[in-house]
């Protein structure tokens, strides 16, 4: 039987934690401030202990666990149909994509063929979620560095997506639309029309974003050369998603390990080589345009057929280990299920993108100013429930 202790066989083989990181700071003239757990820039209950020398950051220590809800443990007591909805509460901004990862894992274990119609609708929903998530990130990040107005402008477009979600899934944020084997319900009759309207609107509005924020000289100066994350560091910290692609790491799961119908649509993996905050920003802005491209290809070609495969009333995964991964708006989400053949999983582990991306914050922030930290956290796009789970 699989036990966690088997993973680490020899404790002495783990390299000691760098002394610098343990002691760091504490010298004369150092100022230690606690950013969070309640702080406007952390967008949640993240606690950062920052050692400062004047305005210059010497060390950042993230303290986690303030909203740990033990989702992984909870899932072990829920059946394979039930546990999917809990995952909407991890990265609540890409709830659909989280659900997709879990549904894929169960389908892989059960070897269920998902109908084409369900797969196409799933991809459209995923991409809409990605746009909505990036919209919120864009507004929140602009607010972090002091511009308030973009936040409301971003919410205007996000609201349109939420309306589409509400119409088809019945909820705006925690949709719980995917079930093992397909979708919970067929798409709403107005779905295609609404999505097309949204695309037309969005294409017009995304240029306003460039006027308001991207081209702004203050914004560019705040972003350029700030929070450098080299390609090697990005790989070694396990960063994924836009945070890693901003450093030129080829890591889009949709390209590397295509799932659903991603291998049938044309889109580009966005890579920037700037390694700084501006590169990560540009990756997300360009990714939104790619998402629109994917939706445009699919929205008129939703195949007819069932929206759900025939499944047994009680799902039981065969004994074994199953792992699937998807690309959420923040990066790679892995779902790892250990099954002993029962109706509930024996062990579930989520590999969440936010946690790994946060681990890079310290090395990015050292030596930069306090104001930069906020910009860096903005471009990492941290969602705290995703980090704590």
């Amino acid at each position: 039987m699989f036990r966690e202790t088997e993973i680490v066989k020899d404790v002495s083989s783990i390299p000691p934690f760098p002394q610098d990181a343990v002691q760091g700071g504490g010298g004369a003239g150092d100022l230690i401030i606690n950013v969070g757990p309640q702080h406007p820039a952390t967008h949640g209950v993240l606690h950062l202990v920052i050692t400062l020398n004047g305005e210059t950051i010497k060390k950042v220590e993230p303290h986690l666990g303030y909203i740990h809800r033990s989702i992984e443990k909870m899932c072990e007591s829920l059946t394979y149909r039930q546990f999917i909805y809990v995952t909407s509460r991890m990265d609540y901004l890409s709830a659909h994509i989280n659900n997709h990862a879990c549904a894929l894992c169960v389908e892989k274990g059960m070897q269920i063929e998902v109908p084409d119609r369900a797969q196409v609708i799933r991809v459209i929903m995923d991409e809409l979620t990605r746009i909505a998530s990036h919209e919120l990130w864009w507004g929140a990040m602009a607010m972090d560095i002091g511009a308030f107005t973009p936040f409301f402008h971003a919410f205007r477009e996000r609201e349109k997506i939420n309306e589409i979600m509400e119409e088809t899934c019945g909820a705006r944020l925690t949709m719980n639309y995917y079930v093992p084997g397909g979708l919970r319900a067929d798409m709403h009759p107005d779905f295609q029309k609404k999505v097309k309207e949204f695309i037309v609107l969005f294409k017009r509005k995304i240029d306003e974003y460039d006027e308001l924020v991207t081209g702004n000289i203050i914004f560019i100066n705040r972003m350029k050369g700030v929070g450098m994350l080299s390609k090697e560091d990005a790989v070694s910290f396990g960063c994924s998603g836009p945070a890693a692609r901003g450093s030129g790491v080829h890591c889009d799961i949709r390209k590397l390990y295509p799932y659903a119908v991603y291998d049938k649509v044309e889109f580009d993996e966005i890579l920037e080589t700037g390694c700084d905050s501006l590169a990560r920003y540009m990756v997300r802005i360009r990714e939104m345009k790619q998402s629109v491209r994917i939706i445009e290809q699919l929205i008129d070609h939703i195949p007819e057929g069932d929206f759900q495969a025939k499944t047994k009333a009680v799902l039981k995964l065969p004994k074994g280990e199953f792992y699937t991964r998807v690309e959420t708006a923040r990066g790679e989400l892995g779902v790892y299920i250990v099954s002993e053949g029962a109706t509930t999983p024996y062990r579930i582990k989520f590999r969440s993108p936010g946690f790994s991306n946060l681990s890079a914050l310290d090395s990015m922030a050292r030596g930069s100013k306090l104001g930069d930290l906020v910009a860096m956290m903005g471009t990492l796009d941290l969602v705290i429930p995703d980090i704590d789970r």
Partner: protein, 358 residues
Amino acid sequence: MWSLTNISTGIHDWLIQTFNPTWALIIEMVIAGIAVIGLFAVLGLVLVLMERRVAAWMQIRLGPNRVGPFGLLQSAADTVKLLVKEGMTPDGADKFLFNLAPFIAMMVAMLLMVPIAFAKDFQLWDLNIGVLYVSAVSSIMVISILMAGWASNNKYSLMGAMRSGAQIVSYELSAGLSILTIVVLTGSLNINDIIIAQADGWWIFKGHIPVIISFVIFIIAVTAETNRAPFDLAEAESELTSGFHTEYSGMKFALFFLAEYINVFIVCAIGATLFLGGWMPFHIGNWESFNHVMDYIPSSIWFFGKTFFLIFVIMWFRWTFPRLRIDQLLNLEWRYLLPISMFNLLLATAIAILGWHF
């Protein structure tokens, strides 16, 4: 023609006739004090409401619209709320300085009202160094921020105070230099002289490019001096929660808040006086009939119109731009604004000597 001058001279004459001169002076002082405090209250209410409306419309929102017609009583309701709130003093704070700081901020704002000409011949004190007085007294403002930041015994407050100190001290230079451009052109520090010198056209129109440049620099520098976005590093809420007034609550916070808005009003009034002619109506050279038509609009309306236009511009900045970083803020001052304004002052001096301005 209706004007504020008639009212003020009327009251003055009546007082002189009724009381002996000392009592008349004291009563006039009291009236002036009450008028300043009243103006403060009204300005505070109006500016807060204006800021919220401007912000809302730029952010495709409606803004306050629940309290009173069109939300006009919203800021009055906010004031009542702040008045009845508990004003806490944190443990470990230097209580004397902590409670003193908001009053210093307020007193500075009141003192700054003194030389401003609100309308033709309507001024508290016609100082012969009016412009210098404003830039001198406004430099005391930084002390109250430093005091508040230090006395709060909070690291965020202290950092906010340090930032704001560095910022105000450096931006005073370019604000002063751009004021000097006008002083050089006019040859006087007296605010009334400066306004009268613009009787045949405002400086921004007849001063060529140097005055336009110094106008732009002035607006940028005073935005920074009043700690408004994009230079609101002292209270940068996403970095320092609220900067120097993190620990303040209730009326003590409200005094800081009010002082900020009054300062915005004052710097905009100075900007309007120096560059846009203060209460001087829109005159063009020697188009006598046109100038005469313009004179029918009361001078106070001209003054407040110009001032509120500049306030709107500063609010427009706030709701459009992201915040600068502290080193970029100082870079902007020392690498761009200061050299440009020094060079610009030279140009303006050359123009003044050669008499090239209209």
